[in-house]
């Protein structure tokens, strides 16, 4: 049985709007206009226990709204959700003790106190047994390398240090389900990699189910066995990254290093030339022609090195957003969705 079951979930916001300028401002006092904005529109999917699911989409796609409904922060306009048998927006304390939502841009810490004080409050609020609290905290402090941070006032921490503390406090009560909303936002590459490793370890060690949103594709490729792409409140794709590439990237990128400059060779006849930089060339060719083109390049040119790669995942996902709304990619992927997932 799936740990998270979402069926026809919708959320509509009523947003006040007016034209710019003083006149419109005065008129809005007498006649206020509201527009219905459908942030999430009949979204359905399931998540099995222990899965890490990447929830992707451009700004305003409905990712965070969906996560907030799963965490019980928002009531939906329609639809149903069950997470571990709980309806999130009933906000039962037993449910809230089993989950955690980390919002990269929102702090759970007391800014004026050392991080350790926030952890102590968290331990009490979640009624964590003192021995378990100590054990978990010691473990998290070691894994996240927080030793020299604990006694510093939170407002004096760097963004990376604060994010590590936010992760620590989110996990102190050992949640079974984690909602991570941009967990690596704003931190440097080294810290991003460290946070990714930590999330993977937590998932493996505790079997936690994780749904994460991120604009960093490195997060997604490193962490997620499955991705769900959402735009304008609709799910456009639900499946593995490989399945997405297979469906939407019917081309390969061939990179070659040459021994000498090209001398009038007609590269354009081989495929789309992405770049020529001294003796380095990048070509995009249809997937089914990749072998033939490679063979010709090796025959015709003084090739020192050659690699054939899939296109960057960012490009593939950008292709999803360019698909016509009436022809969502998810339909093309229903032949091999991740087990337990349903796309609408």
């Amino acid at each position: 049985m799936p740990q998270i079951e979402i069926d026809d979930l919708s959320k509509t916001f009523s947003v006040a709007e007016r034209e710019g300028g003083f006149r419109a401002s005065v008129l809005s006092v007498f006649r206020r206009r509201f527009r219905k904005v459908s942030a999430v529109d009949r979204v359905s999917f399931n998540v099995e226990a222990g899965e890490i699911v990447g929830f992707l989409g451009p700004n305003g796609a409905g990712k965070t709204t969906t996560l907030k409904m799963l965490a019980g922060l928002l009531h939906p306009t329609a639809g149903s959700v069950q997470v571990m048998g709980h309806v999130p927006w009933h906000r039962e304390p037993d449910y809230l003790r089993k989950i955690s939502m980390l919002m990269g841009q929102r702090s759970q810490m007391h800014w004026d106190l050392p991080a350790l004080d926030s952890f102590l409050v968290h331990g009490a609020v979640y009624d964590i047994d003192k021995a378990a609290y100590k054990q978990t905290l010691d473990e998290l402090v070691e894994l996240l390398d927080l030793g020299n941070v604990l006694k510093k006032q939170v407002r004096t921490l760097s963004l990376g240090e604060r994010m590590k503390c936010e992760i620590c406090i989110s996990l102190l009560h050992r949640p079974a389900v984690l909602f991570l909303d941009e967990p690596t936002i704003g931190v440097d590459i080294t810290m991003q990699a460290r946070i990714r490793r930590f999330i993977t370890d937590y998932n493996r060690k505790h079997g936690a189910t994780i749904i994460l949103t991120s604009h960093y594709m490195a997060d997604v490729t490193a962490l997620c066995q499955r991705i769900i792409i959402i735009d304008h409140g609709h799910i456009l794709f639900d499946g593995s990254l490989e399945a997405l590439s297979e469906r939407l990237a019917p081309f390969k990128v061939i990179k070659i290093d040459l021994d000498r400059e090209l001398d009038g060779y007609d590269l354009a006849s081989m495929g789309e030339v992405l770049s020529i930089n001294h003796r380095k060339v990048e070509l995009r060719v249809p997937k089914h022609q990749a072998a033939a083109v490679t063979s010709r390049l090796l025959t015709d040119l003084p090739v020192l090195d050659l690699t054939i790669e899939d296109p960057p995942i960012e490009d593939v996902i950008a292709t999803v957003f360019k698909q016509p709304r009436a022809d969502p990619v998810a339909k093309a992927d229903t032949a091999s969705p991740t087990e337990g997932s349903v796309s609408k």
Binding site: F13, K68, A71, G72, L73, L74, H75, W89, R91, P93, D94, L96, R97, I99, S100, M101, M103, Q105, R106, S107, Q108, H110, D112, L113, D117, S118, L120, V121, G123, A124, V125, Y126, D127
Partner: protein
């Protein structure tokens, strides 16, 4: 209940830590709590001295000193500011992490409230002593009046907290609630007997004060502690009315809270 008590105490310790960090700020707030009633004492005592009978609302200068000394203490110990704070918490998104916790955010606010009152005692007690030394208030309270006065004071603090918190929930609909906070404060000043003893109010305002909760928050415990409430029956009736107000507001809070959370749109995060 045990879980709530544990969380409350943890919050309380943390908030005392925050208060101790901002010692200058809480010293200034403490001074504001003294200056306001001290100015009103100066105003009303001058008026009493200049009046024909030497009294205002049945109080002579030393009686007015006792009244404003009491208002100073009651005003400080019943202070509540959630009605000013909630709109900001919602607008800024600061409420979201609190709503994710398995504990009503009200308990965090209550711990902040208690932490402020406990921490500021260091500053306000000497100031209260200085004020009493300067104005020579006349106290006529008996032992039972003092005892019931302390009960009334505790109930007044609880009532003002839950009432202010419940009114603050309007912010879930209106979002910006600064003006409401000022209206709430103003009602407490006028109809609670802080600006002037209630007997000095014109009849329409006195009639309004009788049906609203503010007199039971400020004037009633103050009058009981200074020995102005005449009989035990009247004192017990006042405490019963405080309890009825408190219970009623708790019921309204429970109903209103569920509707408010359902309405929450997690603005800006």
């Amino acid at each position: 209940m045990r879980r709530i008590a544990r969380a409350f105490l943890a919050y309380l310790r943390a908030h005392v830590g925050v208060m101790l960090h901002y010692r200058g700020e809480i010293l200034l707030w403490s001074m504001w709590g003294i200056i306001n009633p001290a100015v009103l004492y100066a105003m009303w005592s001058s008026a009493a001295a200049g009046s024909g009978g030497g009294t205002i609302a049945g109080l002579d200068v030393r009686g007015i000193a006792a009244y404003y000394f009491g208002i100073m203490i009651v005003g400080h110990l019943t202070a509540s500011w959630d009605v000013h704070q909630m709109g900001y918490n919602i607008r800024s998104g600061n409420l979201s992490p609190l709503l994710l916790r398995p504990l009503l955010p009200l308990w965090k606010s209550l711990s902040e409230n208690v932490a402020y009152k406990v921490t500021t005692l260091v500053f306000v007690v000497p100031m209260w002593g200085l004020f009493a030394w300067l104005v020579h208030p006349r106290f006529e309270a008996t032992a039972w009046q003092l005892a019931l006065g302390l009960v009334a004071l505790a109930l007044a603090a609880a009532l003002n907290f839950i009432l202010s918190y419940t009114v603050s929930l309007i912010a879930f609909w209106a979002t910006k609630l600064d003006a409401m906070g000022e209206i709430y404060f103003g009602l407490g000043m006028f109809l609670g007997g802080r600006l002037a003893p209630l007997d000095a109010l014109p009849p329409p305002l006195l009639a309004a004060a009788k049906v609203l909760p503010f007199r039971w928050i400020f004037a009633f415990p103050t009058e009981l502690l200074m020995g102005k409430t005449p009989g035990m029956t009247e004192a017990l009736a006042g405490i019963a009315i405080q309890l009825i107000w408190f219970g009623s507001v708790v019921v309204v809070f429970r109903f209103f809270w569920n509707a408010a959370v359902k309405r929450y749109t997690a603005v800006s995060g």
